[in-house]
């Protein structure tokens, strides 16, 4: 029998709509695949059995000649911080252990309207706080390329599930690199859209001013297909921009700038692979040169200041009064109960809530939060002027190779440092993508990060697609 689980979006839609195979056959293969590889990978928190019913509905519609959407039969894994009506959404936290949302996130609704099937909810760092998917109540996710290595995070389950061929595509969320980091570590494509392009309605907030939902897939084309469905104005999110864009994949010569600071700070093998990527762009007629953005040095501290500030407030609502987990409030004065309930956050989350509360406290606001916002403005200004010279900026997604599990969990500062290249796009709101760029000597993947100016996703998709076609590094791990 054909290995359907290896197919990309276009092949699945083609196969299902032409009735070459049914959506039901396809989902069965993926569910079998999940059963087989999950003990090694642990990419999912929840696997949905009702996905089979959804597949049958798609098949019936096709049989009856009814209209089906552009993602008919495509199977999507959803990060567990994106709300799914009737399906548990835990954020990998004890605080939401029993939480079943009464509504669908806009992206989930749009995917289902387009004929996609939700297969389950993927593992992550608690509330999106982490870069390894080790801070999860449901155990760590493992890297499909080497199960002793971390898959990156915080959307580690979303990246690993695509790499391990447990779904067609997945959705992650990217607050400081949480889609691109695991995409790079797992050698898949991960896309962080321009702030305001994709609705955040139904995304459980970690840092609202920074984050976007983004797709992960095996190819640029897969990711673009998902963007065509989820992107665009949503009346339920006041921060979304007007319009419903549509993307295609074009090849055209672009002006490419390699960001010196990103390459210089990276592991030697990573630097080499990324520098070589310029040759790939040059080969397809792009104009390439090295450039510099000095203000990126402010990005990481600014990011952690703003992100933790917003997080400290966003996570205040988890007091276990209205929803949460099983804990009886009887016999407590409410302040005591709040403290007791909220002590169930994981260590990393607590660390960020405390940091965020500190930077917002009176007398420190100007010193930290306001200063971080100023640095953010400078960064936006500097990148804006650079995008007059270059269509895209490139560099490594991650400064280091996937590392061993447990290696950094006890040292938050070295953990935070791995986000140094990704946070720039979140602070400035610009779109960024990670595409597989090659493999190190130990077989671990390296990802190329490409950034474009705000709302220039078409340019980004063109650049990524040209690179992907020319570099030919896309493959799947043996499991």
């Amino acid at each position: 029998m054909q290995s359907l689980y290896r197919l990309g979006v276009a092949e699945v839609v083609q196969g299902v709509t032409s009735r070459e195979f049914s959506a039901e056959e396809y989902i069965h293969q993926l569910l079998e695949r999940i059963e087989r590889v999950e003990p090694k990978i642990n990419a999912f928190i929840t696997v949905s059995k009702s996905s089979i019913d959804q597949a049958r509905i798609i098949d019936r519609k096709i049989r009856d000649g009814e209209k089906v959407g552009p993602l008919a039969g495509v199977v999507v894994a959803i990060k567990d911080n994106i709300c799914t009506k009737g399906m548990r959404t835990t954020c990998a936290s004890k605080m939401l252990d029993d939480y079943v949302p009464p509504y669908d996130a806009t992206v989930v609704d749009r995917l289902q309207q387009a004929g996609a099937i939700v297969i389950g909810k993927t593992n992550m760092d608690e509330f999106g706080m982490g870069s390894t998917t080790e801070f999860s109540r449901h155990g760590a996710t493992r890297n499909p390329w080497d199960i002793n290595k971390v898959p990156g995070g915080s959307s580690g389950g979303s990246a690993a599930s695509v790499a391990a061929l447990e779904c067609t595509v997945s959705l992650g969320s990217d607050t400081g690199g949480s889609v691109r980091c695991p995409a790079s570590f797992c050698s898949v494509v991960g896309f962080k859209p321009t702030y305001g392009l994709v609705s955040r309605y139904g995304l459980v907030s970690y840092a609202n001013s920074l984050e976007q939902i983004g797709p992960l897939g095996k190819t640029v084309s897969d990711v673009a297909s998902v963007m065509n469905v989820i992107a665009g104005f949503d009346e339920k999110d006041n921060t979304t921009a007007a319009g419903r864009p549509s993307y295609s994949v074009d090849k055209r010569p672009l002006r490419v700038g390699l960001v010196k600071e990103f390459v210089e700070g990276a592991d030697e093998q990573v630097s080499k692979i990324i520098s070589n990527s310029l040759d790939v762009f040059a080969k397809v007629g792009c104009q390439c040169e090295e450039t510099s953005v000095a203000s990126v040095q402010y990005a990481l501290p600014s990011y952690y200041t703003i992100a933790t500030a917003e997080a400290s407030s966003n996570l205040a609502r988890y007091d276990n009064i209205r929803y949460g987990f099983d804990m009886n409030p009887e016999g407590y004065e409410w302040n005591t109960y709040f403290s007791k309930a909220r002590s169930n956050f994981g260590e990393e989350v607590k660390r960020r809530i405390i940091t965020g509360s500190y930077v917002l406290s009176s007398g420190y606001y100007g010193k930290y939060y306001l200063k971080a916002q100023q640095a953010r403005s400078i960064l936006i200004r500097d990148l804006k002027s650079l995008f007059k010279k270059y269509d895209v900026l490139v560099g490594p997604t991650m400064p280091i190779l996937p590392f061993n599990m447990g290696e950094k969990v006890d040292n938050p500062l070295t953990m935070y440092l791995v986000d140094v290249d990704t946070v720039v796009a979140n602070l400035t709101g610009i779109p960024a993508i990670s595409v597989p760029a090659g493999f190190a000597r130990n077989g671990m993947p390296v990802g190329l990060q490409i950034m474009a100016d705000a709302f220039c996703e078409q340019t980004l998709i063109d650049a990524a697609s040209m690179f992907e076609t020319e570099a030919k590094v896309q493959r799947s791990p043996e499991l």
Partner: protein
């Protein structure tokens, strides 16, 4: 150093159909607990606030009525604190410490005859839910329940400078505010809890004490009086007045120390990332002003200049929108403004009981409509009844809701037309009221007094015309 009083007034925008950040209704009173809620106003994970644009308009109208400056750009801030009635454990409000972004600032309001209070700011914010104690009070209850029906109701906070020193002025000022929001149609002040007030009091240059939980405007004056007396007593006994927050005990009419230790709270304000700054622009105020309803001051001016009312009568009418509306409806039926106004201001109001008067509910307890007063005024001016009779008729009208003409006809039926019976009554009055009789010989107008006595004696049943003739005749006879 004198007494200083400042006010923080909260006004629900009951004139709006939906809550401030979701589509739930504003009509929450009397609803089953937690039935007027949705994922957004419950603060469920993943929900986003959607600003009610009409609320911005209403709050702007209040700002303009208070002569405030409305900035071209407004913003929302998060005020972070933990309390069970706060679904997100932060309140969406406005804040001016990092730049003026609240809906109104630097205003003033004239009240009483020639007094002025400065308005520091006007801000738009969400009302929290309500904590309901099982046995009515926190001290005696085993548990508390939370009702979120009120959570998210649009609230306007008006903060004054400490410009009051006399509790009576506080009442006059609050009456004016009530009349303004009623005239603007933004707030029905008669609804329970729709207007609330916190007061700040300091005496003789001492520290400021804040009194919370003043549930209605009529209580505010009492709370201020009590607090001034308390602080002055302390000063006279050399006891230090602490800067503290006290609560108004509505039942015992005293202020008392807050049980929970409210230390200086750090609210960690920061701009709400989910609501982009709202640009009102230069023309907003210009375009809003002409569409605003007539304000009390303008109405008073019109009553004086166009309708010829005295300033005092006009003032009494505009202080209560209901009364002013009643007046205008009445003169549509019978166009004699002065006569009608006098009936309303001097006679009708005297029938309002104390409780309704305090609640500003002047006409609710009376079975009277504009048609009653219009007919009565006409009957008087056409000499169908005399004033004394008319007052008695009104006394019955407000109780039964019968038309004045009907009441008059009924009393006609029982009327004593027999002049010998009336003559006996006149005789009796002349004996009892000798000094009045003497007076009446000098001053023909005093005959009315004697008539009143005759009417009293005959329980209003004597034909006044016959009675007056007999009185005058007797006055002449005995000369």
């Amino acid at each position: 150093m004198q007494t200083k009083i400042g006010l923080e007034i909260h006004c629900q925008l009951t004139g709006l159909k939906s809550k401030l950040f979701c589509s739930c209704g504003t009509d929450y009173r009397g609803k089953e607990p937690n039935s007027n809620v949705c994922p957004t106003c419950l603060g469920l994970p993943g929900t986003l606030p959607l600003l009610n644009k009409k609320a911005v308009e209403f709050a702007s109208m209040i700002s303009l009525a208070l002569d405030c400056r409305v900035p071209e750009e407004i913003m929302f801030y998060r005020k972070n604190y933990f309390y069970p009635d706060l679904p997100k454990n932060f309140q969406l409000t406005q804040y001016n410490a990092y730049g003026i972004t609240s809906i109104g600032v630097d205003g003033s309001l004239q009240y009483g005859d020639d007094k002025v209070a400065r308005i520091r700011r006007v801000q738009l914010e969400e009302d929290p839910g309500r904590v309901v104690y099982e046995s009515g009070s926190m001290e005696k209850s085993l548990y508390a329940l939370v009702d979120y029906n009120r959570a998210g109701i649009p609230l306007v906070e008006i903060v004054t400078e400490p410009d009051f020193s006399d509790p009576k002025d506080v009442r006059l000022f609050l009456n004016k505010i009530t009349s303004i929001v009623e005239h603007l149609g933004v707030c029905d002040t008669k609804l329970e809890g729709s207007v609330r007030c916190d007061v700040n009091v300091s005496v003789q240059g001492g520290l400021r004490v804040e009194i919370k939980n003043v549930g209605s405007f009529s209580e505010a004056e009492k709370a201020v009086r009590y607090e001034i007396a308390r602080q002055k007593t302390m000063v006279s006994r050399n006891i230090e007045v602490k800067a503290e927050t006290r609560h108004w005990d509505d039942a015992r009419k005293i202020t008392k120390e807050s049980r929970s230790k409210e230390e200086e709270q750090d609210y960690r304000y920061f701009p709400e990332p989910d609501i982009p700054a709202i640009t009102l622009g230069k023309d907003f105020v210009l375009s809003l002003k002409p569409s605003m309803p007539e304000l009390p001051d303008a109405r008073k001016e019109r009553f004086i200049s166009a309708l010829g009312l005295s300033p005092h009568v006009a003032q009494v009418l505009i202080e209560n929108k209901e009364l002013a509306d009643f007046f205008e409806l009445t003169i549509k039926l019978y166009n004699s403004p002065k006569e009608v106004a006098n009936w309303i201001v001097t006679d009708l109001i005297s029938f309002v009981d104390e409780k309704d008067r305090e609640g500003g509910n002047l006409l609710a307890g009376l079975k009277v409509g504009p048609e009653h007063i219009a007919e009565l005024a006409r009957m008087v001016e056409q000499n169908t009844v005399n004033r004394t009779m008319a007052k008695q008729i009104l006394g019955q009208v407000v109780r039964t809701g019968e038309m004045p003409s009907v009441v008059a006809r009924k009393s006609q039926a029982t009327r004593i037309a027999d002049s010998s019976v009336i003559a006996d009554a006149v005789e009796a009055v002349f004996k009892a009221e000798q000094s009045a009789v003497a007076d009446a010989r000098q001053n023909p107008n005093a005959a009315n007094f004697l008539l009143g006595k005759v009417m009293q004696l005959t329980k209003g049943r004597a034909d006044p015309k016959t009675a007056l003739e007999l009185i005058n005749k007797k006055l002449r006879e005995t000369t």
